[in-house]
Amino acid sequence: MSAGSRIKPDEVREIATLSRLRLSDEEVAALTQDLDSILGYVAELSALDMTGVEPMTHAVPFDCPLRADEVRPSLPLEEALANAPRREASFFQVPRIVPGPSGGGGEEDL
């Protein structure tokens, strides 16, 4: 495939929105080119016969360990909030949000 044929600037913008990345026009142009060449390169995997091959999600084949249900001390409030760019009282603060994907139970008006 020729350059620029795999991904267009509009799709790059769409991915940037999904990724919550504000990009300049120059960045969009550069990323369009980069992604296009990388996607072209990784397309070589299509040559592999994958029939019957189990996906490898973990590098070593151990089972999930379990921890005992024990409570240990919470971070003190001040430590939990110490790194917050904005806090208000005992909360992390963000710009006003409209109810979102978490939906019921997680939203309350003060």
Binding site: V71, V94, P99, P101, G104
Partner: protein, 483 residues
């Protein structure tokens, strides 16, 4: 059952699938060590893991796994010998990592069904799956253009129970959720409190013409935080969709929030519609293995479940389905009833006392499990045996019960202290009956034509004896004297 059945819509069949989130009552969070206790000061129950701090890793809580397995076994699900966690991505302030650790293509439980009764008719709603996941934090919306985030709830373990589209009415939806609450409480894996959000329900509602094979377009309803909300919201949504379809308009696939104060569902109109969760296997957690030995251990310690109890109570010569339904609805009620019977009370009598007297005096049936309950099961059994043995009349029994409840005294003590023993002595009763008949010659004369006057005479004898007379004996004597 109190309310009448939702009327079948004349034109459309209502199709409802439900997603119920149950918070599991573990002490610590699903992937980290801070407490899950409800109601703490904001952000005082956190740790670096549940705050999604860089470099932190999840470690799975054994108690959360056991709870999920218990729920799955109780619902007759197949438990996957190897299940997997996946990451579900979305950006939202209550989600500290930008993804929720959940299960996607290989959940811990598949299949199964929730069984319950609707107006006494057995219902079975098939389950697609039950999976484990972590809860998000809470967003609080302040007035001045800002919102606040509290991560105390972030990482509380959840089971998400996804049903097949088997539910056919708003009322059934509410009963289904109630049945899940009952199951969760029986199993001791959660408190199923809808108001506090430890039991949450989303409903996918669609309509189709009766007899149609294809499903209609569904709307997802969120934010219903009581059984009544579930019923009202779905009821509203059915009406809304029916009127759209009647007008030849289309139902839009979207998420709608129930506004309980206005009694309407409203479109969220947010970008949420275009969600792409980009699921992929959680690299930080290897596959979870649940082997036969583990299942056997959990199975061996499963409590008796509501539907099994129902079958036991309604067996030959058993309770009415109505009474059995009331008794099995809560684990504490059923356990109390079982204890009254175990202490010697006949089943039907015990059921009447529990339903009509005990349950009438508590605000939450779970109080029947408390040690401070004024009338413990053994005390009620004693009262029932005094009545059965003829020492107390039924009417006196109720008075005694009221005194037991008010003063935490035993039935025997009250009977002794107040000299309430029923008079069954034939001589004394004969005396009293003769006095009453003699005092009412007109009524005695009319008795042959109007036998209903028996009630009048019995009442008079009871008055004469201060209520202590054995009504059965009084009846016999009066019949003889008046006959």
């Amino acid at each position: 059952m109190t309310a009448p059945a939702s009327p079948v819509h004349p034109k459309y069949e209502v199709v409802i699938g439900l997603e119920v989130h149950v918070q599991l009552a573990t002490r610590s969070k699903i992937f980290s060590w801070s407490s899950t206790a409800f109601g703490a000061e904001p952000n005082t129950q956190t740790d670096p893991v549940c705050l999604g701090m860089p470099g932190t890793l999840p470690v799975l809580n054994a108690a959360a796994v056991e709870a999920a397995v218990r729920l799955g076994l109780a619902a007759g699900c197949a438990i996957r010998p190897r299940c997997r966690f996946s990451r579900k991505h979305y950006f939202y302030p209550d989600l500290p990592k930008g993804f929720q650790i959940s299960q996607f293509d290989e959940p811990i439980c598949e299949g199964g069904a929730i069984k319950f009764r609707l107006h006494g008719e057995p219902r079975s709603v098939r389950l697609t799956r039950i999976h484990m996941e972590e809860d998000a934090g809470k967003n609080l919306h302040a007035a001045a253009g800002v919102s606040f985030v509290d991560y105390n709830r972030a990482g509380v373990p959840l089971c998400e129970i996804v049903s097949e589209p088997d539910v056919r009415s708003a009322e059934e939806a509410a009963e289904y959720v109630r049945a899940i609450r009952s199951l969760v409480r029986y199993l001791g894996i959660g408190d199923g409190n809808m108001e506090e959000g430890s039991l949450r329900c989303d409903a996918n509602v669609s309509l189709r013409l009766h007899g149609a094979k294809e499903y209609g377009t569904k709307a997802e309803i969120k934010n219903m935080n009581s059984f009544k909300n579930v019923r009202d919201a779905v009821e509203y949504e059915v009406k809304r969709q029916a009127s759209l379809l009647d007008k030849g308009e289309r139902v839009v696939q979207e998420t709608r929030l129930w506004d309980a104060s206005r009694g309407v569902t409203q479109s969220m109109r947010s970008k949420e519609q275009a969600h792409d969760y980009k699921y992929f296997p959680e690299p930080d957690l290897p596959p979870l293995v649940v082997d036969e030995a583990y299942l056997a251990r959990v199975r061996a310690s499963q409590p008796e479940l509501p539907e099994d109890r129902f079958a036991r109570y309604t067996g030959p010569d058993g309770l009415s389905p109505q009474d059995a339904g009331v008794l099995v609805a809560d684990r504490e009620t059923a356990a109390y009833f079982d204890a009254v019977v175990a202490a010697g009370a006949p089943g039907k009598k015990a059921a009447n006392w529990v339903i009509n007297e005990v349950l009438a005096r508590v605000t939450d049936p779970r109080e029947l499990g408390e040690a401070a309950l004024p009338v413990p099961a053994v005390a009620l059994a004693e009262l029932v045996s005094l009545i059965e043995g003829g020492t107390l009349s039924g009417k006196l029994g109720k008075d005694v019960f009221a005194k037991m409840w008010a003063g935490k005294r035993s039935a025997g003590d009250i009977v002794k202290a107040e000299g309430l023993t029923q008079v069954s002595d034939a001589g004394a009763l004969e005396e009293a009956c003769r006095r009453v008949v003699a005092a009412h010659p007109d009524e005695a004369a009319r008795f042959k034509d109007s036998p209903k006057l028996m009630g009048f005479f019995v009442g008079a004898v009871m008055k004469e004896t201060g209520g202590k007379a054995n009504p059965k004996a009084v009846n016999e004597i009066l019949r003889r004297l008046l006959g």
